[in-house]
Protein backbone atom coordinates (compact mmCIF):
# COMPACT_ATOMS: atom_id res chain seq x y z
CA UNK A 1 0.00 0.00 0.00
CA UNK A 2 1.88 3.03 -1.25
CA UNK A 3 1.29 6.75 -1.16
CA UNK A 4 3.22 9.44 -3.02
CA UNK A 5 3.34 12.97 -1.63
CA UNK A 6 4.19 15.66 -4.16
CA UNK A 7 6.62 18.36 -3.06
CA UNK A 8 6.63 21.77 -4.76
CA UNK A 9 8.85 24.71 -3.96
CA UNK A 10 6.74 26.33 -1.24
CA UNK A 11 4.93 23.22 -0.02
CA UNK A 12 4.84 23.22 3.78
CA UNK A 13 2.42 20.44 4.72
CA UNK A 14 4.15 17.70 2.75
CA UNK A 15 5.84 16.07 5.73
CA UNK A 16 2.72 16.30 7.91
CA UNK A 17 0.77 14.58 5.16
CA UNK A 18 3.48 11.91 4.80
CA UNK A 19 3.37 11.23 8.55
CA UNK A 20 -0.43 10.92 8.48
CA UNK A 21 -0.19 8.39 5.62
CA UNK A 22 2.59 6.47 7.41
CA UNK A 23 0.63 6.30 10.66
CA UNK A 24 -2.24 4.74 8.71
CA UNK A 25 0.13 2.09 7.37
CA UNK A 26 1.18 3.50 3.98
CA UNK A 27 4.69 3.33 2.60
CA UNK A 28 5.30 6.92 1.46
CA UNK A 29 7.45 8.26 -1.36
CA UNK A 30 8.11 11.97 -1.58
CA UNK A 31 7.98 13.07 -5.23
CA UNK A 32 9.65 16.24 -6.49
CA UNK A 33 7.63 18.55 -8.75
CA UNK A 34 10.14 18.20 -11.60
CA UNK A 35 9.74 14.43 -11.72
CA UNK A 36 7.75 13.48 -14.78
CA UNK A 37 6.37 10.25 -13.36
CA UNK A 38 5.07 8.75 -10.15
CA UNK A 39 6.81 5.76 -8.57
CA UNK A 40 5.45 2.43 -9.83
CA UNK A 41 2.68 0.92 -7.77
CA UNK A 42 1.46 4.12 -6.14
CA UNK A 43 -2.08 3.65 -4.80
CA UNK A 44 -2.76 7.25 -3.86
CA UNK A 45 -1.18 10.63 -4.54
CA UNK A 46 -1.26 13.34 -1.89
CA UNK A 47 -1.00 16.94 -3.05
CA UNK A 48 -0.12 18.88 0.08
CA UNK A 49 -0.82 22.32 1.41
CA UNK A 50 1.53 25.26 1.29
CA UNK A 51 2.29 28.06 -1.11
CA UNK A 52 3.56 26.37 -4.24
CA UNK A 53 5.50 28.80 -6.42
CA UNK A 54 4.70 31.56 -3.94
CA UNK A 55 1.03 31.56 -5.03
CA UNK A 56 2.17 33.61 -8.06
CA UNK A 57 -0.44 34.31 -10.76
CA UNK A 58 -3.15 32.31 -8.94
CA UNK A 59 -2.84 29.81 -6.09
CA UNK A 60 -1.87 26.49 -7.64
CA UNK A 61 -1.82 27.76 -11.23
CA UNK A 62 1.88 27.28 -11.88
CA UNK A 63 2.10 24.04 -9.88
CA UNK A 64 -0.71 22.67 -12.05
CA UNK A 65 1.58 23.01 -15.09
CA UNK A 66 4.55 21.22 -13.48
CA UNK A 67 5.80 17.90 -14.90
CA UNK A 68 4.57 15.90 -11.90
CA UNK A 69 1.04 17.28 -12.27
CA UNK A 70 0.81 15.82 -15.76
CA UNK A 71 1.63 12.46 -14.14
CA UNK A 72 -0.99 13.10 -11.45
CA UNK A 73 -3.60 13.89 -14.12
CA UNK A 74 -2.71 10.65 -15.93
CA UNK A 75 -2.92 8.73 -12.64
CA UNK A 76 -6.42 10.06 -11.90
CA UNK A 77 -7.56 9.50 -15.49
CA UNK A 78 -6.56 5.86 -15.06
CA UNK A 79 -8.84 5.75 -12.01
CA UNK A 80 -6.11 6.28 -9.44
CA UNK A 81 -6.81 7.83 -6.05
CA UNK A 82 -5.65 11.30 -5.06
CA UNK A 83 -6.22 13.78 -2.28
CA UNK A 84 -5.44 17.48 -2.46
CA UNK A 85 -5.46 19.46 0.75
CA UNK A 86 -5.54 23.27 0.93
CA UNK A 87 -3.03 24.38 -1.75
CA UNK A 88 -3.35 20.81 -3.03
CA UNK A 89 -7.09 21.38 -3.55
CA UNK A 90 -6.32 24.61 -5.39
CA UNK A 91 -3.86 22.72 -7.59
CA UNK A 92 -6.38 19.95 -8.36
CA UNK A 93 -8.95 22.54 -9.48
CA UNK A 94 -6.33 24.32 -11.60
CA UNK A 95 -5.47 21.04 -13.34
CA UNK A 96 -9.16 20.48 -14.02
CA UNK A 97 -9.16 17.17 -12.08
CA UNK A 98 -11.78 18.72 -9.80
CA UNK A 99 -14.34 21.35 -10.85
CA UNK A 100 -14.61 24.92 -9.60
CA UNK A 101 -11.99 27.29 -8.24
CA UNK A 102 -10.84 28.74 -4.95
CA UNK A 103 -11.19 32.50 -4.62
CA UNK A 104 -9.85 34.95 -2.04
CA UNK A 105 -11.68 34.57 1.29
CA UNK A 106 -14.77 36.78 1.32
CA UNK A 107 -13.51 38.55 4.47
CA UNK A 108 -10.09 39.06 2.80
CA UNK A 109 -8.29 37.71 5.86
CA UNK A 110 -6.04 34.71 6.15
CA UNK A 111 -7.86 32.39 8.56
CA UNK A 112 -6.03 29.90 10.75
CA UNK A 113 -8.20 28.04 13.27
CA UNK A 114 -10.07 24.83 13.88
CA UNK A 115 -13.53 24.80 12.31
CA UNK A 116 -16.52 22.49 12.42
CA UNK A 117 -16.97 20.31 9.35
CA UNK A 118 -20.09 18.36 8.59
CA UNK A 119 -19.48 15.07 6.82
CA UNK A 120 -21.94 15.20 3.92
CA UNK A 121 -21.37 11.72 2.58
CA UNK A 122 -19.75 8.57 3.90
CA UNK A 123 -19.81 7.11 0.39
CA UNK A 124 -16.13 7.42 -0.53
CA UNK A 125 -12.83 5.83 0.41
CA UNK A 126 -11.98 9.06 2.20
CA UNK A 127 -15.11 9.48 4.28
CA UNK A 128 -16.35 5.97 4.98
CA UNK A 129 -14.76 6.13 8.44
CA UNK A 130 -17.34 8.77 9.34
CA UNK A 131 -21.12 8.79 9.34
CA UNK A 132 -22.93 11.28 7.13
CA UNK A 133 -23.99 14.09 9.42
CA UNK A 134 -21.01 13.75 11.79
CA UNK A 135 -19.46 17.06 12.80
CA UNK A 136 -15.69 16.96 13.15
CA UNK A 137 -13.13 19.59 14.15
CA UNK A 138 -10.40 20.16 11.56
CA UNK A 139 -8.04 23.15 11.22
CA UNK A 140 -8.12 25.50 8.28
CA UNK A 141 -5.23 27.77 7.32
CA UNK A 142 -5.86 29.65 4.10
CA UNK A 143 -6.32 32.99 2.40
CA UNK A 144 -7.93 31.64 -0.76
CA UNK A 145 -10.39 28.98 0.32
CA UNK A 146 -13.61 30.49 -0.97
CA UNK A 147 -14.94 27.70 -3.15
CA UNK A 148 -16.66 28.90 -6.31
CA UNK A 149 -18.44 26.96 -9.00
CA UNK A 150 -21.26 27.90 -11.35
CA UNK A 151 -24.82 26.85 -10.51
CA UNK A 152 -24.76 23.95 -12.94
CA UNK A 153 -21.61 22.51 -11.35
CA UNK A 154 -22.99 23.00 -7.84
CA UNK A 155 -26.20 21.18 -8.81
CA UNK A 156 -24.17 18.32 -10.27
CA UNK A 157 -22.06 18.07 -7.12
CA UNK A 158 -25.22 17.95 -5.01
CA UNK A 159 -27.12 15.54 -7.25
CA UNK A 160 -24.18 13.15 -7.46
CA UNK A 161 -23.51 13.29 -3.69
CA UNK A 162 -20.02 14.65 -4.36
CA UNK A 163 -19.89 17.24 -1.59
CA UNK A 164 -17.68 15.52 0.99
CA UNK A 165 -17.56 18.19 3.71
CA UNK A 166 -19.31 21.47 4.45
CA UNK A 167 -18.46 24.11 7.05
CA UNK A 168 -20.87 24.29 9.98
CA UNK A 169 -20.17 28.04 10.03
CA UNK A 170 -18.93 29.29 6.68
CA UNK A 171 -15.61 31.05 7.38
CA UNK A 172 -14.65 32.15 3.87
CA UNK A 173 -17.70 32.69 1.67
CA UNK A 174 -17.61 29.31 -0.07
CA UNK A 175 -20.59 28.49 -2.29
CA UNK A 176 -23.01 26.17 -0.47
CA UNK A 177 -20.59 26.13 2.54
CA UNK A 178 -18.42 23.68 0.60
CA UNK A 179 -15.17 22.63 2.29
CA UNK A 180 -14.37 19.55 0.21
CA UNK A 181 -15.56 17.78 -2.93
CA UNK A 182 -15.15 14.45 -4.70
CA UNK A 183 -14.46 13.65 -8.34
CA UNK A 184 -17.17 11.97 -10.40
CA UNK A 185 -15.61 8.54 -9.77
CA UNK A 186 -15.30 9.42 -6.03
CA UNK A 187 -11.58 8.61 -6.07
CA UNK A 188 -10.25 12.15 -5.84
CA UNK A 189 -10.91 14.37 -2.84
CA UNK A 190 -10.07 18.06 -2.64
CA UNK A 191 -10.56 19.92 0.62
CA UNK A 192 -9.37 23.18 2.16
CA UNK A 193 -9.24 21.99 5.81
CA UNK A 194 -6.21 20.00 6.99
CA UNK A 195 -7.05 16.49 8.25
CA UNK A 196 -3.30 15.77 8.51
CA UNK A 197 -3.12 18.48 11.17
CA UNK A 198 -5.70 16.65 13.27
CA UNK A 199 -4.29 13.17 13.14
CA UNK A 200 -2.25 12.92 16.36
CA UNK A 201 -2.96 13.59 20.05
CA UNK A 202 -0.20 16.19 19.94
CA UNK A 203 -2.15 18.15 17.34
CA UNK A 204 -4.90 18.87 19.83
CA UNK A 205 -7.42 16.76 17.91
CA UNK A 206 -7.55 13.49 16.02
CA UNK A 207 -10.73 13.87 13.99
CA UNK A 208 -8.74 13.74 10.75
CA UNK A 209 -7.12 10.37 11.44
CA UNK A 210 -10.24 8.44 10.39
CA UNK A 211 -9.82 9.75 6.84
CA UNK A 212 -6.38 8.16 6.50
CA UNK A 213 -7.46 4.98 8.30
CA UNK A 214 -10.43 4.61 5.94
CA UNK A 215 -8.18 5.07 2.91
CA UNK A 216 -5.80 2.43 4.25
CA UNK A 217 -8.74 0.08 4.70
CA UNK A 218 -9.91 0.53 1.11
CA UNK A 219 -6.45 0.41 -0.47
CA UNK A 220 -5.06 -2.55 1.49
CA UNK A 221 -4.40 -5.38 -0.97
CA UNK A 222 -6.87 -8.18 -0.33
Amino acid sequence: MRAAVVVFPGSNCDRDLAVAFERAGFQVDMVWHKDASLPNGVDIVGVPGGFSYGDYLRCGAIAAQSPICKAVVDHTERGGYAVGICNGFQILTETGILPGALLRNAGLKYICRTVGLKVETSDSAFTEGYNAGDVIGIPIAHHDGNYFADDETLSALRDQDRIAFTYTENPNGSCSDIAGILSANRRVLGMMPHPERAADEGHGGTDGAALFRALAGVLTPA
Binding site: L57, A61, Q65, G100, A101, N105, L108, N146, F148, D150
Partner: protein, 76 residues
Protein backbone atom coordinates in the same frame (compact mmCIF):
# COMPACT_ATOMS: atom_id res chain seq x y z
CA UNK B 1 5.43 41.95 -31.00
CA UNK B 2 4.04 42.75 -27.62
CA UNK B 3 0.76 41.56 -26.24
CA UNK B 4 -1.10 42.90 -23.27
CA UNK B 5 -3.50 40.51 -21.56
CA UNK B 6 -6.21 41.86 -19.28
CA UNK B 7 -7.56 39.31 -16.83
CA UNK B 8 -10.74 40.13 -14.90
CA UNK B 9 -13.01 38.10 -12.67
CA UNK B 10 -16.18 37.20 -14.55
CA UNK B 11 -19.32 39.12 -13.81
CA UNK B 12 -21.12 37.45 -10.94
CA UNK B 13 -17.93 36.22 -9.30
CA UNK B 14 -17.48 38.02 -6.00
CA UNK B 15 -14.39 40.24 -5.93
CA UNK B 16 -13.72 40.87 -2.23
CA UNK B 17 -10.55 42.84 -3.00
CA UNK B 18 -12.46 45.16 -5.31
CA UNK B 19 -15.10 45.54 -2.59
CA UNK B 20 -12.42 46.45 -0.04
CA UNK B 21 -11.05 49.09 -2.41
CA UNK B 22 -14.56 50.46 -2.93
CA UNK B 23 -15.04 50.73 0.85
CA UNK B 24 -11.70 52.49 1.23
CA UNK B 25 -12.55 54.96 -1.52
CA UNK B 26 -15.89 55.62 0.17
CA UNK B 27 -14.16 56.21 3.50
CA UNK B 28 -11.83 58.71 1.80
CA UNK B 29 -14.81 60.73 0.63
CA UNK B 30 -15.08 59.44 -2.94
CA UNK B 31 -18.78 58.84 -2.55
CA UNK B 32 -19.60 58.42 -6.23
CA UNK B 33 -17.92 55.03 -6.64
CA UNK B 34 -20.60 52.39 -7.06
CA UNK B 35 -18.40 49.42 -7.76
CA UNK B 36 -14.77 48.36 -8.07
CA UNK B 37 -13.46 45.27 -9.85
CA UNK B 38 -9.78 44.51 -9.61
CA UNK B 39 -7.92 42.56 -12.27
CA UNK B 40 -4.49 41.87 -13.68
CA UNK B 41 -2.56 43.16 -16.63
CA UNK B 42 0.09 40.85 -18.06
CA UNK B 43 2.52 42.17 -20.67
CA UNK B 44 4.15 39.64 -22.96
CA UNK B 45 7.23 40.31 -25.08
CA UNK B 46 6.87 37.93 -28.00
CA UNK B 47 9.42 36.72 -30.53
CA UNK B 48 8.82 37.09 -34.26
CA UNK B 49 6.38 34.55 -35.54
CA UNK B 50 4.23 34.46 -32.40
CA UNK B 51 0.55 34.75 -33.22
CA UNK B 52 -2.57 35.89 -31.46
CA UNK B 53 -3.63 32.25 -31.44
CA UNK B 54 -0.55 31.46 -29.33
CA UNK B 55 -1.58 34.12 -26.83
CA UNK B 56 -5.12 32.74 -26.72
CA UNK B 57 -3.69 29.32 -25.91
CA UNK B 58 -1.50 30.85 -23.17
CA UNK B 59 -4.57 32.50 -21.68
CA UNK B 60 -6.65 29.35 -21.81
CA UNK B 61 -3.94 27.15 -20.33
CA UNK B 62 -2.30 29.38 -17.74
CA UNK B 63 -2.79 33.14 -17.70
CA UNK B 64 -6.50 33.03 -16.89
CA UNK B 65 -8.61 30.48 -15.06
CA UNK B 66 -11.68 30.50 -17.26
CA UNK B 67 -13.81 29.00 -14.48
CA UNK B 68 -13.70 32.37 -12.73
CA UNK B 69 -11.92 34.79 -15.07
CA UNK B 70 -12.30 36.29 -18.52
CA UNK B 71 -9.48 37.76 -20.55
CA UNK B 72 -8.91 40.24 -23.32
CA UNK B 73 -5.86 40.34 -25.55
CA UNK B 74 -4.46 43.57 -26.93
CA UNK B 75 -1.68 43.29 -29.51
CA UNK B 76 0.67 46.28 -29.53
Amino acid sequence: MKARVHVMLKNGVLDPQGEAVRHALGAMGFDKVEGVRQGKVIDLDLADGATEADVVEMCEKLLANTVIERYEIELV
